[in-house]
Protein backbone atom coordinates (compact mmCIF):
# COMPACT_ATOMS: atom_id res chain seq x y z
CA UNK A 1 0.00 0.00 0.00
CA UNK A 2 1.71 3.09 -1.12
CA UNK A 3 0.94 6.63 -0.23
CA UNK A 4 -1.55 7.30 -3.03
CA UNK A 5 -3.61 4.28 -2.10
CA UNK A 6 -3.62 5.30 1.49
CA UNK A 7 -4.65 8.76 0.48
CA UNK A 8 -7.41 7.38 -1.76
CA UNK A 9 -8.96 5.25 0.93
CA UNK A 10 -8.63 7.97 3.51
CA UNK A 11 -10.29 10.57 1.31
CA UNK A 12 -13.00 8.14 0.21
CA UNK A 13 -13.92 7.28 3.76
CA UNK A 14 -14.07 10.94 4.68
CA UNK A 15 -16.18 11.74 1.66
CA UNK A 16 -18.70 8.99 2.24
CA UNK A 17 -18.89 9.55 5.95
CA UNK A 18 -19.40 13.28 5.63
CA UNK A 19 -21.92 12.75 2.86
CA UNK A 20 -23.88 10.45 5.13
CA UNK A 21 -23.67 13.07 7.84
CA UNK A 22 -25.09 15.64 5.42
CA UNK A 23 -28.28 13.69 5.03
CA UNK A 24 -28.60 12.55 8.60
CA UNK A 25 -27.85 15.75 10.52
CA UNK A 26 -30.87 17.24 12.20
CA UNK A 27 -29.48 20.73 12.07
CA UNK A 28 -29.32 22.13 8.55
CA UNK A 29 -26.28 24.20 9.39
CA UNK A 30 -24.45 21.05 10.30
CA UNK A 31 -25.50 19.58 7.00
CA UNK A 32 -23.88 22.49 5.23
CA UNK A 33 -20.70 22.10 7.18
CA UNK A 34 -20.55 18.39 6.48
CA UNK A 35 -21.12 19.06 2.83
CA UNK A 36 -18.14 21.37 2.86
CA UNK A 37 -16.11 18.55 4.33
CA UNK A 38 -17.28 16.33 1.52
CA UNK A 39 -16.23 18.88 -1.03
CA UNK A 40 -12.84 19.14 0.55
CA UNK A 41 -12.49 15.37 0.34
CA UNK A 42 -13.44 15.47 -3.32
CA UNK A 43 -10.95 18.22 -3.90
CA UNK A 44 -8.39 16.01 -2.24
CA UNK A 45 -9.24 13.36 -4.78
CA UNK A 46 -8.69 15.88 -7.54
CA UNK A 47 -5.25 16.66 -6.18
CA UNK A 48 -4.43 13.00 -5.99
CA UNK A 49 -5.39 12.77 -9.64
CA UNK A 50 -3.21 15.76 -10.42
CA UNK A 51 -6.19 17.90 -11.42
CA UNK A 52 -5.01 20.83 -9.42
CA UNK A 53 -6.96 23.52 -11.15
CA UNK A 54 -10.25 21.79 -10.58
CA UNK A 55 -9.32 21.08 -7.00
CA UNK A 56 -8.78 24.77 -6.37
CA UNK A 57 -11.87 25.81 -8.27
CA UNK A 58 -13.91 23.25 -6.39
CA UNK A 59 -12.84 24.69 -3.10
CA UNK A 60 -13.26 28.27 -4.16
CA UNK A 61 -16.57 27.93 -5.94
CA UNK A 62 -18.29 25.16 -4.06
CA UNK A 63 -16.91 25.24 -0.60
CA UNK A 64 -16.24 28.95 -0.69
CA UNK A 65 -19.02 30.58 -2.63
CA UNK A 66 -21.91 28.21 -2.94
CA UNK A 67 -21.86 26.87 0.55
CA UNK A 68 -21.57 30.33 1.98
CA UNK A 69 -24.59 31.19 -0.04
CA UNK A 70 -26.44 28.33 1.55
CA UNK A 71 -25.44 29.51 4.98
CA UNK A 72 -26.63 32.97 4.14
CA UNK A 73 -29.97 31.61 3.13
CA UNK A 74 -30.26 29.75 6.42
CA UNK A 75 -29.45 32.94 8.15
CA UNK A 76 -32.09 34.78 6.20
CA UNK A 77 -34.86 32.34 6.83
CA UNK A 78 -33.78 31.43 10.35
CA UNK A 79 -34.26 27.69 10.61
CA UNK A 80 -33.49 25.79 13.74
CA UNK A 81 -33.01 22.14 14.42
CA UNK A 82 -36.23 21.77 16.35
CA UNK A 83 -38.32 23.27 13.59
CA UNK A 84 -36.74 21.03 11.01
CA UNK A 85 -39.55 19.07 9.37
CA UNK A 86 -39.17 15.32 9.33
CA UNK A 87 -40.45 12.90 6.72
CA UNK A 88 -42.55 10.15 8.19
CA UNK A 89 -40.75 6.99 8.98
CA UNK A 90 -42.05 4.82 6.17
CA UNK A 91 -41.05 7.25 3.53
CA UNK A 92 -37.62 7.44 5.06
CA UNK A 93 -37.30 3.67 4.96
CA UNK A 94 -38.62 3.55 1.41
CA UNK A 95 -36.17 6.24 0.34
CA UNK A 96 -33.30 4.45 1.98
CA UNK A 97 -34.18 1.19 0.33
CA UNK A 98 -34.67 2.85 -3.04
CA UNK A 99 -31.37 4.68 -2.89
CA UNK A 100 -29.57 1.61 -1.61
CA UNK A 101 -30.93 -0.61 -4.29
CA UNK A 102 -30.09 2.00 -6.88
CA UNK A 103 -26.52 1.85 -5.68
CA UNK A 104 -26.48 -1.93 -5.69
CA UNK A 105 -27.97 -2.14 -9.14
CA UNK A 106 -25.56 0.39 -10.55
CA UNK A 107 -22.57 -1.29 -8.99
CA UNK A 108 -23.77 -4.64 -10.27
CA UNK A 109 -24.26 -3.21 -13.70
CA UNK A 110 -20.87 -1.58 -13.84
CA UNK A 111 -18.86 -4.19 -12.01
CA UNK A 112 -17.61 -6.09 -14.99
CA UNK A 113 -17.86 -3.34 -17.49
CA UNK A 114 -15.15 -3.43 -20.11
CA UNK A 115 -13.25 -0.19 -20.02
CA UNK A 116 -10.27 0.20 -22.27
CA UNK A 117 -7.87 1.20 -19.51
CA UNK A 118 -8.57 -0.15 -16.11
CA UNK A 119 -6.57 2.52 -14.40
CA UNK A 120 -7.05 6.15 -13.64
CA UNK A 121 -3.59 7.48 -14.07
CA UNK A 122 -2.48 9.12 -10.91
CA UNK A 123 0.29 11.61 -10.90
CA UNK A 124 1.33 10.60 -14.36
CA UNK A 125 0.65 13.63 -16.45
CA UNK A 126 -0.15 17.24 -16.24
CA UNK A 127 -3.31 17.87 -18.20
CA UNK A 128 -4.98 19.10 -15.07
CA UNK A 129 -2.56 21.96 -14.61
CA UNK A 130 -3.81 25.49 -14.99
CA UNK A 131 -1.55 26.18 -17.94
CA UNK A 132 -2.82 23.31 -20.06
CA UNK A 133 -6.45 23.69 -19.12
CA UNK A 134 -6.29 27.41 -19.64
CA UNK A 135 -4.81 27.11 -23.09
CA UNK A 136 -7.50 24.68 -24.14
CA UNK A 137 -10.21 26.76 -22.50
CA UNK A 138 -9.24 29.92 -24.31
CA UNK A 139 -8.72 28.33 -27.70
CA UNK A 140 -11.08 25.45 -28.39
CA UNK A 141 -13.66 26.27 -25.75
CA UNK A 142 -13.55 30.01 -25.88
CA UNK A 143 -17.11 30.39 -27.16
CA UNK A 144 -18.72 28.20 -24.47
CA UNK A 145 -16.59 30.01 -21.96
CA UNK A 146 -17.84 33.38 -23.07
CA UNK A 147 -21.38 32.07 -23.26
CA UNK A 148 -21.14 30.95 -19.67
CA UNK A 149 -20.59 34.55 -18.69
CA UNK A 150 -23.92 35.34 -20.33
CA UNK A 151 -25.43 32.49 -18.37
CA UNK A 152 -24.10 33.99 -15.18
CA UNK A 153 -25.49 37.35 -16.06
CA UNK A 154 -28.91 35.92 -16.70
CA UNK A 155 -28.74 33.88 -13.51
CA UNK A 156 -27.87 37.03 -11.65
CA UNK A 157 -30.74 38.92 -13.17
CA UNK A 158 -33.01 36.00 -12.44
CA UNK A 159 -31.97 35.84 -8.84
CA UNK A 160 -32.49 39.56 -8.39
CA UNK A 161 -35.89 39.46 -10.01
CA UNK A 162 -36.96 36.49 -7.92
CA UNK A 163 -35.59 37.89 -4.71
CA UNK A 164 -37.10 41.33 -5.14
CA UNK A 165 -40.02 42.17 -2.91
CA UNK A 166 -42.96 42.78 -5.12
Amino acid sequence: MNITQILFWFLSVIAIFSALMVITSKNPVHSVLWLIVTFFAISGHYIVMNAQFLAIVNIIVYAGAIMVLFLHVFMLIDLRANTEPQQNRWIKIAGGIAGGSLMLVMIAALRNVDIKAQDAGINTNNIGLIKNLGRELFTTYVIPFELSSVLFLSAMVGAVVLGKKD
Binding site: A19, M49, L54, I127
Partner: protein, 108 residues
Protein backbone atom coordinates in the same frame (compact mmCIF):
# COMPACT_ATOMS: atom_id res chain seq x y z
CA UNK B 1 -5.77 3.51 -8.90
CA UNK B 2 -8.19 1.20 -10.69
CA UNK B 3 -10.93 3.12 -12.39
CA UNK B 4 -13.55 0.87 -10.81
CA UNK B 5 -12.77 2.26 -7.39
CA UNK B 6 -13.58 5.72 -8.58
CA UNK B 7 -16.75 4.46 -10.21
CA UNK B 8 -17.91 2.84 -6.99
CA UNK B 9 -17.01 5.85 -4.94
CA UNK B 10 -18.97 8.07 -7.30
CA UNK B 11 -21.93 5.69 -7.23
CA UNK B 12 -21.87 5.66 -3.45
CA UNK B 13 -21.85 9.44 -3.23
CA UNK B 14 -24.55 9.69 -5.84
CA UNK B 15 -26.77 7.20 -4.06
CA UNK B 16 -26.30 9.04 -0.79
CA UNK B 17 -27.46 12.15 -2.61
CA UNK B 18 -30.51 10.29 -3.90
CA UNK B 19 -31.36 8.99 -0.48
CA UNK B 20 -31.05 12.51 0.85
CA UNK B 21 -33.45 13.83 -1.72
CA UNK B 22 -35.90 11.08 -0.92
CA UNK B 23 -35.82 11.28 2.85
CA UNK B 24 -35.55 14.97 3.64
CA UNK B 25 -38.32 17.53 3.54
CA UNK B 26 -36.23 20.63 3.80
CA UNK B 27 -35.92 22.14 0.34
CA UNK B 28 -32.44 23.49 1.06
CA UNK B 29 -31.14 20.12 2.19
CA UNK B 30 -32.60 18.56 -0.94
CA UNK B 31 -30.83 21.19 -2.91
CA UNK B 32 -27.57 20.38 -1.15
CA UNK B 33 -28.04 16.72 -1.95
CA UNK B 34 -28.38 17.61 -5.57
CA UNK B 35 -25.08 19.45 -5.32
CA UNK B 36 -23.60 16.33 -3.80
CA UNK B 37 -24.81 14.28 -6.75
CA UNK B 38 -23.33 16.78 -9.15
CA UNK B 39 -20.02 16.53 -7.38
CA UNK B 40 -19.98 12.78 -7.54
CA UNK B 41 -20.42 13.04 -11.29
CA UNK B 42 -17.62 15.59 -11.44
CA UNK B 43 -15.34 13.23 -9.61
CA UNK B 44 -16.15 10.48 -12.05
CA UNK B 45 -15.53 12.77 -15.01
CA UNK B 46 -12.12 13.72 -13.74
CA UNK B 47 -11.24 10.08 -13.17
CA UNK B 48 -12.34 9.18 -16.67
CA UNK B 49 -10.43 12.11 -18.09
CA UNK B 50 -7.23 10.84 -16.48
CA UNK B 51 -7.95 7.30 -17.57
CA UNK B 52 -8.56 8.40 -21.11
CA UNK B 53 -5.36 10.31 -21.21
CA UNK B 54 -3.44 7.35 -19.89
CA UNK B 55 -5.03 5.02 -22.42
CA UNK B 56 -4.48 7.22 -25.46
CA UNK B 57 -1.41 9.07 -24.34
CA UNK B 58 -0.70 10.29 -27.80
CA UNK B 59 -1.10 14.01 -27.56
CA UNK B 60 -0.67 16.12 -24.47
CA UNK B 61 -4.28 17.32 -24.52
CA UNK B 62 -6.14 14.01 -24.84
CA UNK B 63 -8.75 13.70 -22.15
CA UNK B 64 -8.63 17.33 -21.21
CA UNK B 65 -12.21 17.74 -22.38
CA UNK B 66 -13.41 15.81 -19.35
CA UNK B 67 -11.88 18.29 -16.97
CA UNK B 68 -13.20 21.22 -18.96
CA UNK B 69 -16.57 19.61 -18.77
CA UNK B 70 -16.28 19.57 -15.00
CA UNK B 71 -15.39 23.22 -15.14
CA UNK B 72 -18.52 23.99 -17.11
CA UNK B 73 -20.63 21.89 -14.79
CA UNK B 74 -19.35 24.02 -11.95
CA UNK B 75 -20.25 27.12 -13.87
CA UNK B 76 -23.77 25.90 -14.46
CA UNK B 77 -24.08 24.69 -10.89
CA UNK B 78 -23.12 28.08 -9.56
CA UNK B 79 -25.70 29.77 -11.73
CA UNK B 80 -28.27 27.19 -10.76
CA UNK B 81 -27.60 27.63 -7.08
CA UNK B 82 -28.08 31.36 -7.26
CA UNK B 83 -31.43 31.03 -8.98
CA UNK B 84 -32.48 28.03 -6.92
CA UNK B 85 -31.77 29.73 -3.64
CA UNK B 86 -33.62 32.77 -4.82
CA UNK B 87 -36.60 30.58 -5.51
CA UNK B 88 -36.35 29.00 -2.07
CA UNK B 89 -36.17 32.39 -0.42
CA UNK B 90 -39.20 33.48 -2.33
CA UNK B 91 -41.03 30.31 -1.41
CA UNK B 92 -40.22 30.91 2.24
CA UNK B 93 -41.50 34.41 1.94
CA UNK B 94 -44.78 33.14 0.54
CA UNK B 95 -45.55 30.08 2.63
CA UNK B 96 -43.18 30.67 5.58
CA UNK B 97 -41.70 27.26 5.25
CA UNK B 98 -39.17 25.40 3.18
CA UNK B 99 -40.99 22.11 3.60
CA UNK B 100 -41.52 20.51 0.24
CA UNK B 101 -44.55 18.65 1.54
CA UNK B 102 -46.45 21.89 1.55
CA UNK B 103 -45.66 22.27 -2.09
CA UNK B 104 -48.32 20.04 -3.48
CA UNK B 105 -49.96 22.47 -5.84
CA UNK B 106 -48.78 20.32 -8.75
CA UNK B 107 -51.77 18.18 -7.86
CA UNK B 108 -54.17 20.78 -9.11
Amino acid sequence: MPINYYIFLAIALFSIGVVGVLTRRNAIIIFMCIELMLNSVNLLLVAFSKMHHLAAGATPTTGIDGQLFVFFIMVVAAAEVSVGLAIIVMMYRNIHSVDVNFLNRLKH
